[in-house]
Symmetry: C2
Subunit: 175 residues, 2 copies
């Protein structure tokens, strides 16, 4: 392959590669920003899920996010110890833990909103408002077509769930 790459081979010139390239970049940039709130991206995602649908069980949350229940326990633990989430036992079925945002948690959600807005603005600073909306519309159509759950990051979902014959854990490498 010669250095004049942009031929029909597109090992790295196509839209899909640009998507993964920019997506990883955006994820890293977002991680840097919410680190200022002492949060990791998975924690922010969980807070968002709880804010969107409060009072659900950990099983329900795990299923929506597409992650193993055991992983959710640790996430909830950390955020509960910091006073951002609360577990409330369901009197009817005492096995269930309804997960709620605390008052402090709601305040942090507001911070996350601000950070997300700033982040969005910085990442797309090359585009004017009309172009941003154009991009957003195109991406939304692709996301729908590919069956992505709105607001839920695929990083929670384990691959082997979708592909029974998956060879190993190597699939999920950073790429």
């Amino acid at each position: 392959m010669s250095p004049s790459e942009a031929d029909s081979a597109l090992p790295a010139g196509g839209g899909a590669f640009l998507l993964t390239q920019l997506g990883t970049h955006a994820a890293q940039a977002f991680a840097e920003r919410i680190a200022e709130l002492d949060l990791t991206p998975p924690q922010a995602g969980l807070l968002r899920a709880v804010a969107f649908g409060p009072g659900r069980s950990q099983q329900a949350l795990a299923q929506q996010l597409g992650t193993a229940p055991t992983r959710l326990v640790a996430l909830v633990d950390g955020l509960e110890q910091r006073g951002l989430l609360e577990r409330r036992r369901n009197p009817g079925d005492r096995r269930l833990h309804a997960v709620h945002l605390s008052v402090a948690g709601e305040a942090v959600m507001a911070d996350i909103g601000r950070v997300s807005r700033d982040h969005d603005d910085a990442v797309l600073s090359a585009l004017d408002p009309a172009e941003r909306e154009q991009l957003r519309a195109l991406l939304a159509r692709v996301a729908t077509d590919r069956g992505l759950t709105p607001g839920v990051h695929p990083g929670y979902r384990t691959l082997s769930a979708a592909d029974p014959g998956s060879p190993s854990r190597e699939d999920r490498a950073t790429y």
Copy 2:
């Protein structure tokens, strides 16, 4: 936050979030595809880098990919054992290992090209050719603006290099 999310808060509705969401999805889909070639995404990225500029030292490759030289050693090891890469000692400076594609490696590169084309087509199947080009142009502008190296995935680059005061390794979490 009420379930009527699409207000100005955009914790997950903006273009940047769609970008990370789709980018992660595309990366996972690509990982599944090249797994059929018994390759991981980092391996494919290295092969691509070598194909694009053959005969460079491991230091040069590490710098271009933005990864630690120690990580490159393991990657080259694996691909050399499979007969896809060759290390050739530089007679002038016997410290340097010039990395080249073997004949089998070039054949695999052709396979990677095919897989990438299929992958690109599948990910963007919701868009017609004109829309794909429109999307590609918008993404390319954003990528340039954000300083991304064409053809190089940011997953190689460690975060702390760009951000000296980074808090810990949690930044790089999947999100």
